[in-house]
């Protein structure tokens, strides 16, 4: 499946945001977590046009699929790891960096997990898992990437894939909302602490066409309801990827500590 086809026939955009074509064929890489599926995969494919990546994912088969979709597949490094194993992140990441002498200049945390449960039925185990992957893993990885011993002073730009659930509530989403809220609060604190060497921002996407939402969107009734909620319609994953690429690029050199909502107007449409 080619994730780069825009389903509604819209005009495709190609190329890099100005002179951001750096990194290729160098050892300066951008780490993207959750690259084996959903938004993470699509951001990875997009960023691979201009950057060398470390593709992180839990499922090795799907991770290989992502790499095959990327430009110059052989250039990208794989990190097959389960972020629920929080205590093992340090050893695994350190080993990966040191084995290949990698220098990580960009970090995109796109790994995320969701379990819809009414509050009265939330179990602590599932809640911990969501908080661990969506928030704690970002904290742990960022902590390691700014340690001189591990990544010298290579890190420059960080983008967290948050969600509009960080700002708004939805039934059954309590833990997910809390995890994204924590991620954004952490983002601001890290931005202040790591300035001016490292910039840290969040992108808050709405629903885009992807393998994950394909089932939802094939339901005609659900689809038309969702489309009514989005003043600009359901988005293309590339629309989110452009924002990520922009925030990582030097063009955004004076942007840090910000939440950038990219959602086709969904969250201002309070009547939806």
């Amino acid at each position: 499946m080619d994730y780069r086809i825009r389903i509604d026939g819209g005009r495709r955009l190609h190329g890099a945001l100005g002179n951001t074509r750096v990194s290729m064929n160098s050892n300066n890489l951008t780490l993207i977590t959750g690259a084996s599926s959903g938004t993470g995969r699509q951001i990875a494919v997009h960023l691979s046009q201009t950057r060398r990546l470390i593709l992180h994912g839990r499922d090795s088969t799907r991770l290989l699929e992502t790499r095959a979709l990327c430009r110059n597949p052989a250039d990208h490094v794989l990190w097959n790891f389960d972020l629920r194993e929080g205590d093992e992140i340090e050893a695994s990441l350190e080993h990966l960096i040191q084995a290949d002498q990698l220098a990580i200049e960009g970090f995109v945390h796109s790994a995320g997990t969701l379990k819809i449960q009414p509050l009265r039925l939330v179990d602590r185990g599932a809640a911990h898992e969501i908080i661990d992957v969506n928030f704690m893993a970002a904290l742990e990885i960022l902590r390691l990437l700014v340690r001189k011993k591990i990544n010298d002073k290579h890190l420059r730009g960080v983008v967290f894939i948050s969600s509009t659930a960080s700002k708004f509530g939805a039934r059954g989403f309590s833990v997910y909302c809390a995890s994204k809220g924590a991620l954004d609060a952490f983002m601001r604190a890290a931005a202040v602490e790591l300035a001016p060497d490292v910039r840290v921002n969040s992108v808050l996407p709405g629903a885009t066409r992807s393998a994950m939402t394909a089932a939802m969107l094939s339901d005609t009734e659900l689809r038309s309801r969702m489309e009514a909620d989005y003043p600009l319609g359901i988005g293309d994953p590339d629309d989110v990827a452009w924002a990520v690429e922009y925030l990582l690029s030097d063009k955004a050199r004076w942007i840090t500590g910000q939440e950038f909502v990219v959602d086709g107007g969904r969250t201002v449409n309070i009547t939806a």
């Binding site: 190609h14 430009r71 202040v192 300035a195 003043p231 063009k251 955004a252 050199r253 909502v261 009547t271």
Partner: protein, 261 residues
Amino acid sequence: MSDPGNSEFLNPLSLESRRVLVTGAASGIGRATCRLLSRLNARVVAVDVDEPGLESLDQDLTGEGHARFGFDLADVERIPAWMAELALAGGPLSGVVHAAGLPCVQPLRLLTPALYRKVLLVNTEAALALARGFQKKAVGDPRGGSIVFISSVMASAGASGAAVYSLSKAALHGLARSLAIELAPGKIRVNCVAPGFVQTPMFDRMSSPWDTQQRARVEADHPLGLGTPVDVANSIAFLLADTGRWITGSVLTVDGGYTAH
């Protein structure tokens, strides 16, 4: 996977064949925006009350088809008709950037209507009038359009003496949100860029009475230091171009971390 043909030579920020109106074009953020947009191949309609400043802008622009107008945006009632005229003369507009703004630093006890009325007219009401002008059929490009209001971190932060400035800029966020919904069916996107303290002529005038200590404090309030006009112009271009095609009703804060700390 094979490379898409010639992809490396296409700039996704390209504004080729788009005509964009920029207010406050003679100086600061507006001027840097005109300069950048011309390099992205847009045709720029530069507007400012400062006509000599506008004339000197010519040397900054590349490409052809640009136009400039001396116009006082405090004259809000005339804005929509004037936009219709300029669209008739030079072609429809794909974008509007409202970068014109008046500063206002006054303690509350001195804030008389005579002092603040013009600030509200230029900073806020002109934005509304520009949107009214833009949505007219003969003015906006039928392919769709993008409006960017330049607000300020003062839209969400507060400072003593900044009441009117803050009010004038916060109103832009509310305006953008509602217009985003109302204008979406017409393929018009509406967003704000909220800058922190940027080194512009307006900032220089405002900060001239400050002592070294006060200046150092403002600089320290920005974890990445003070910004430059081009830092803000980059984000304006991102929202005007197709890179921002799924973004509406958003505020992109470009402030060196001012509002994060």
